[in-house]
C-alpha cells in the first residue's frame, strides 16, 4: 500500500498517448483511474475481514461524425488497448448520429487542490489493525461489543483528449467507523479524511460507547410530529438526497423537485447551499467528466433555489454557461453537484439540547428511500442512538422510529444550525453539513428495538 505503487503522472500520460495513436476516430478521450485501497473490518471484538485491492481502469470514448460511445478495460497490454479502442469505435458507429453532440473541450486551467497525504497512502495492515485492540478495550469495560472498519487508500484520475485537454488528480482517504452494541442499545460514530492523522479511532469508539450506554433500555414513544436534533450524519443523509435535483438536465426532464420552483422560497431563510469542490473540507477532482473545471455555484440563497449546475450539453440547450459538473459521456443524466456545502450556524449540539423542552436527538438514519419525488418525501429509520430530550437534557434512549418527511418542508422548519462540518453517513456521499434542530419532524411508526 505504499505511495510508490501509484503510477506517476508521466506514466499515465504515456498510457494515454499509446491510446491516441491507436485511434482513428474524429476525436478520442481517455479516462484513466487507478485505485489502491485496503480495509480492515472488525466485529464481535475481533478482526474478521481484512482486504486490499489494486485496480486500474482505462476508459476510451471515441467520436465518429457526432456518434460517440465508451469502452473500458483494466488491461494495458497492446492487444487489450487496441481492442478497447476498437470496441469504443464499433459502439459509436452503431448508434444514430447525434446532431447536438459538442466537440470535445480543449485545454483547461484547474484550481489547485492538495488532498494527497503520503502517510495515508503508506498505511500498512498493521496500522489499520492497531486500533482494534484499543477499541475493544474501551468497549469491553462495560461489556459492550464493537464492530467497524478502518480503511485507507489512494487514487489518481486522469482525463485527456485528442484536442489537447489534460487533467490529473490524486487523493488519499482514510475512514474509521464503529458501532458499539449492548443487549438492547447501540451507538455509532464515523469519520473520514484525506489525512489519516485526522482520524481518532479511540475518541470515536468512546463516543459510540457512551451513546450505547445512554440509550440502554429504550422507551417506546408514540409516533407523531417531534422537534428533532439531527446530528450532522443524520442531517447529511436526509439533505444528501437533494443533490441530483440541482441538475439542469433533471429540471429540464421535469423529474427534479425544483421543477417550476427556481426563484421561489421553498426552504427557510436560514438555508444557504453551495457546490464548491475547493472547500477545505471537501474531496474530489477539480474537474468534471468532460474535463471542465468545477466552478463554485450558489445553489440556494436564504431558502431560494437560485442556480443549477450544467453540463456542456445542458448549458447549450438552456443558453447558459457550463458550470463544470458534467458526468462522463455518453450519459442520459447530464450533470450533478458532487461537493455540496451548507452554510452553517453557531449553535452547539449542547445548545440545541438545552433549548429543547421536548424532542428527539438523532445520531444516525438508515435505509432512506424516496417516497414522493416532487414533494421530496423520504422514508427511513433512526439507528444506533436515538434519545428523548426533555427539559433541556437527554433523559433516555427511545426505540427507533420510522419517518416519512418532506425534505423541503424540513428545511423550512430549521430552528437552529450548528457549524458546518465534513459529515459522513451511509446513505449520501460526504458533504459539509451542520447539525440541525428541526420542528415538526414526522415520525410515522416505531419498530421493536
Amino acid at each position: 500500500m505504499a505511495a510508490a505503487h501509484l503510477p506517476s503522472e508521466a506514466e499515465i500520460r504515456r498510457l494515454a498517448e499509446r491510446i491516441f495513436k491507436l485511434s482513428e476516430a474524429d476525436e478520442t478521450e481517455v479516462q484513466i483511474d487507478f485505485t489502491s485501497d485496503a480495509l480492515t473490518r472488525f466485529a464481535n471484538n475481533t478482526i474478521h475481514q481484512n482486504v486490499a485491492e489494486r485496480m486500474l481502469s482505462v476508459s476510451v470514448r471515441t467520436v465518429f461524425d457526432r456518434c460517440t460511445a465508451r469502452a473500458t478495460t483494466n488491461k494495458t497490454d497492446e492487444e487489450s488497448l487496441r481492442r478497447v479502442v476498437a470496441a469504443s469505435a464499433t459502439l459509436a458507429r452503431s448508434r444514430p448520429r447525434n446532431p447536438d453532440l459538442l466537440p470535445m473541450s480543449g485545454p483547461q486551467k484547474y484550481p489547485r487542490v492538495e488532498r494527497f497525504f503520503p502517510a495515508t497512502a503508506a498505511a500498512s495492515p498493521e496500522d489499520r489493525a492497531a486500533p482494534s485492540p484499543r477499541v475493544v478495550t474501551i468497549t469491553a469495560r462495560t461489556g459492550q461489543t464493537a464492530a467497524g472498519i478502518f480503511s485507507t487508500g489512494a487514487m489518481q484520475s486522469a482525463l485527456a483528449n485528442s484536442r489537447g485537454l489534460s487533467a490529473h488528480y490524486r487523493q488519499t482517504r482514510a475512514e474509521f467507523s464503529i458501532s458499539v452494541l449492548e443487549e438492547n442499545s447501540s451507538g455509532w460514530a464515523k469519520a473520514n479524511s484525506p489525512d489519516i492523522a485526522d482520524i481518532a479511532p479511540d475518541a470515536l469508539a468512546e463516543s459510540a460507547s457512551q451513546k450505547a450506554i445512554a440509550s440502554r433500555a429504550p422507551r417506546e414513544l408514540a409516533p407523531g410530529h417531534y422537534t428533532v436534533i439531527l446530528e450532522p450524519a443524520a442531517a447529511l443523509d436526509v439533505v444528501g438526497f437533494l443533490f441530483y435535483d440541482f441538475s439542469a438536465t433533471a429540471v429540464r426532464d421535469q423529474r427534479s423537485c425544483l421543477t417550476e420552483r427556481l426563484g421561489k422560497q421553498v426552504m427557510g431563510q436560514n438555508i444557504t447551499l453551495w457546490d464548491d469542490v475547493c472547500h477545505p473540507l471537501q474531496l474530489g477532482a477539480p474537474f468534471d467528466g468532460e474535463g471542465l473545471p468545477r466552478q463554485k455555484v450558489l445553489l440556494v440563497e436564504r431558502g431560494v433555489p437560485r442556480n443549477l449546475v450544467y453540463s456542456r450539453a445542458a448549458a447549450k440547450k438552456m443558453n447558459v454557461q457550463a458550470t463544470g459538473h458534467g458526468l462522463s459521456l455518453p450519459n442520459e443524466w447530464g450533470e450533478a453537484p458532487m461537493n455540496l456545502v451548507f452554510g452553517g450556524g453557531t449553535a452547539s449540539l449542547q445548545e440545541m439540547i438545552s433549548s429543547t423542552d421536548s424532542g428527539i436527538l438523532v445520531t444516525r438514519l438508515w435505509y432512506i428511500r424516496e417516497v414522493d419525488p416532487y414533494e421530496k418525501i423520504l422514508t427511513g429509520m433512526t439507528r444506533d442512538g436515538t434519545f428523548l430530550v426533555e427539559g433541556g437534557r437527554v433523559v433516555a434512549g427511545v426505540r427507533n422510529f420510522r419517518f416519512n418527511q418532506s425534505v423541503l418542508e424540513m428545511l423550512s422548519n430549521v430552528e437552529m444550525l450548528g457549524p458546518a462540518v465534513r459529515a459522513s453517513g451511509e446513505e449520501a456521499f460526504e458533504m459539509v453539513v451542520p447539525a440541525m434542530k428541526v420542528r415538526g419532524f414526522h415520525f410515522t411508526e416505531v419498530t421493536k428495538f
Binding site: 482486504v51 467507523s177 455518453p330 442520459e332 435505509y367 428511500r369 439507528r383 421493536k448
Partner: protein, 485 residues
C-alpha cells in the same frame, strides 16, 4: 487462468497459509439506454483480475490485483498472507471452516442467444421503438429504456484441491414512462422498476418481454395516475403483485436469514437480524401456506442467484428457509456453518468481482407458489387494495419494520377491480406480515424476478439475487402511512 490461480495458491502455501483459495474472474458488460428518443449510455466494460483469500495464523487475509504477471500474482498472494498475519494480532479465536470436499468441474448456464453477438443496431432499435411508443401518449414527459448484459467467467481454485470453471450469462431490460403535471410526478415501468427484469439468460429474455408491446399501456397509466384517487390510510386487506412481493421476500426474508448478519459480522453497516439463533426451527415466521426456499440450482430457474458452485467452492443447493410457516434455515458459508454447529455450508458465498471478498449473499430466495388463480383470488376478495410494481422500499437494521410503496394500486370491491389508486404504500412488522398471508397464487402466475442491485458489505458489493413470487393476499395490513400528514 489456471496458471494464475496456481501461482497464487503456491505462494500462499510457501508463505505459511493453512488454507487458500483464488478466484480469477473475467467480466464483460454492455449497457445501453435511451431517453426521450435519443441514445443515452452506450458502453462496454471488461475487467480481468484475481482475488486471493487465505487463512494464516488462524486469521483471514484477502488481496486482489489486476497485475496478472507471475510477479504480480505472487505479490498479491504474499500481501494476502501479510494481511492475515496482521488480522491475527487482534484475533480472539482461530478460523474454523465446515468440511467440504474438493470438486473439479465446469458449469455454464444455458442460453439461446449470446447478447454480445446481437448487432448493437438491433438492440438500440428495439429500445427506441419502445421509447417512441411511450412518447406517443399525451402527458408523458420523460421516457427511458435500458438493456444490460453481463458475462462472468471465473475459475476457482483452492488449497483443498478444487478447480471449478464457471460461465454465467446475464441479461436484463426495462422501460419507464414519467409524467409531470400539477406539481406531481408519476411513473410507470415494465416489466419491473429500477431497470426491469434480469435473469441468467441470453438475448431471448429481451425478446420474450416485448417492451414495445407494453409501452403504450405504461405511458397511459403514468398519465392516468394524476387523476386517480389517493390511496387511503388505514388497515386493509392487500394483494401484492409478484414483482413487489419478490422485493418483500428479499428485504424481509432474504436479508434477515444471512448468518453473517445474525452473528454480528455486518453490524456496522448492513445491520443485524431479529432471527437470533434461538428462533431456528421454533419461530412461526409465516402462516401455514408460506414456504420459502433458497435455491441456487438451475432446477429452480435461471435466476440471478443461480450457479453451479458458490465462491468458496460449495455446490449449489436448495435450503428450506420457511416450511409451512416455520423458520427452518439460514444462508451460511463454511465459517458460519461451523460456528453454529451445522455440518456443512449451504453454499451462499458470492462476490461481485475479482477484487472483492466473497460474503454471504442471497441466491434465489423464493416464495413457493400456492394454488390460486389470480382471477379467482380477486373474485374472492371483497374489500382490498391491489398494489403493483415497487416504487420505494425501506426496512430497519434488524429487519423488523418495513415500509414499501408501489407505482400503482387498484381498489377491489366485491371481487372486482373498480378503480385506480395513486401513491399506494403499506408497512408492518415482518413476522406479523407473513403470518397474515392467506392466499398465494399458483405456479402459472409465478415469476423468478431478478434484483440486480443488492448492496452489502464493506467495501460495498452489489450483487444480483433472484426471487420467485406469485401474487398473494395479506390481511389487516397498515396502508397509506407514507403519505399521512
Amino acid at each position: 487462468m489456471q496458471d494464475w490461480a496456481n501461482w497464487a495458491l503456491e505462494t500462499a502455501r510457501v508463505r505459511g497459509a493453512t488454507y487458500a483459495d483464488a478466484r480469477v474472474m473475467d467480466l464483460r458488460q454492455r449497457d445501453l439506454s435511451t431517453k426521450n428518443g435519443e441514445v443515452g449510455t452506450l458502453a462496454e466494460t471488461e475487467s480481468l483480475g484475481i482475488g486471493v483469500r487465505v487463512v494464516a495464523e488462524g486469521a483471514w487475509g484477502f488481496a486482489s490485483t489486476d497485475r496478472l504477471t507471475r510477479e504480480g500474482v505472487q505479490a498479491c498472494a504474499a500481501q494476502a498472507v501479510a494481511i492475515a498475519r496482521a488480522s491475527a494480532l487482534a484475533k480472539r479465536h482461530e478460523v474454523v471452516l465446515a468440511p467440504e470436499q474438493a470438486y473439479v468441474d465446469t458449469w455454464q448456464n444455458p442460453y439461446i442467444k449470446d447478447p454480445f453477438r446481437i448487432p448493437l443496431e438491433r438492440q438500440l432499435d428495439l429500445l427506441l421503438a419502445a421509447d417512441a411508443e411511450m412518447r406517443q401518449v399525451a402527458g408523458v414527459t420523460l421516457t427511458e429504456t435500458s438493456m444490460q448484459f453481463r458475462r462472468i467467467e471465473q475459475l476457482f481454485a483452492s488449497s483443498i484441491g478444487s478447480l471449478i470453471h464457471q460461465v454465467k450469462m446475464q441479461s436484463g431490460c426495462g422501460i419507464a414512462a414519467t409524467s409531470f403535471a400539477a406539481n406531481e410526478i408519476q411513473k410507470r415501468t415494465y416489466p419491473n422498476s429500477f431497470g426491469g427484469q434480469h435473469m441468467l439468460q441470453g438475448y431471448e429474455l429481451v425478446e420474450s418481454l416485448d417492451l414495445a408491446g407494453h409501452a403504450q399501456r405504461v405511458g397511459e397509466e403514468a398519465v392516468a395516475l394524476h387523476k386517480a384517487t389517493q390511496c387511503p390510510e388505514g388497515v386493509r386487506t392487500i394483494l401484492l403483485d409478484g414483482g413487489q412481493l419478490g422485493l418483500q421476500v428479499h428485504e424481509s426474508v432474504g436479508h434477515p436469514i444471512e448468518l453473517d448478519r445474525v452473528l454480528g459480522m455486518e453490524a456496522n453497516f448492513a445491520g443485524m437480524s431479529f432471527l437470533t439463533l434461538d428462533k431456528l426451527r421454533t419461530l412461526r415466521y409465516g402462516s401455514d401456506i408460506v414456504n420459502v426456499v433458497a435455491d441456487a440450482r438451475l432446477a429452480h430457474g435461471p435466476g440471478l442467484g443461480t450457479f453451479g458452485y458458490d465462491d468458496e467452492g460449495v455446490p449449489a443447493q436448495c435450503t428450506d428457509i420457511i416450511k409451512e410457516g416455520l423458520f427452518t434455515g439460514y444462508l451460511s458459508n463454511r465459517e458460519t456453518a461451523a460456528a453454529i454447529g451445522e455440518s456443512r455450508s449451504n453454499g451462499t458465498m458470492r462476490t461481485e468481482s475479482w477484487n472483492r471478498l466473497p460474503i454471504i449473499r442471497m441466491t434465489n430466495v423464493s416464495l413457493l407458489p400456492g394454488t390460486w388463480a389470480l382471477d379467482d383470488l380477486i373474485a374472492d376478495t371483497d374489500d382490498a387494495i391491489l398494489m403493483e410494481t415497487n416504487r420505494s422500499w425501506s426496512i430497519d437494521d434488524r429487519r423488523y419494520h418495513f415500509q414499501f410503496s408501489t407505482e400503482i394500486g387498484w381498489e377491489i370491491r366485491g371481487g372486482k377491480k373498480i378503480r385506480m389508486l395513486k401513491n399506494p404504500s403499506y408497512s408492518g412488522i415482518t413476522t406479523e406480515f407473513w403470518n397474515s398471508c392467506d392466499a398465494i397464487c399458483s405456479r402459472q402466475h409465478w415469476t423468478l424476478w431478478g434484483t440486480p442491485n443488492c448492496g452489502k458489505g464493506q467495501p460495498m458489493q452489489t450483487m444480483g439475487t433472484g426471487h420467485g413470487a406469485a401474487p398473494a393476499r395479506f390481511r389487516n395490513i397498515k396502508v397509506g402511512v407514507a403519505f399521512s400528514k
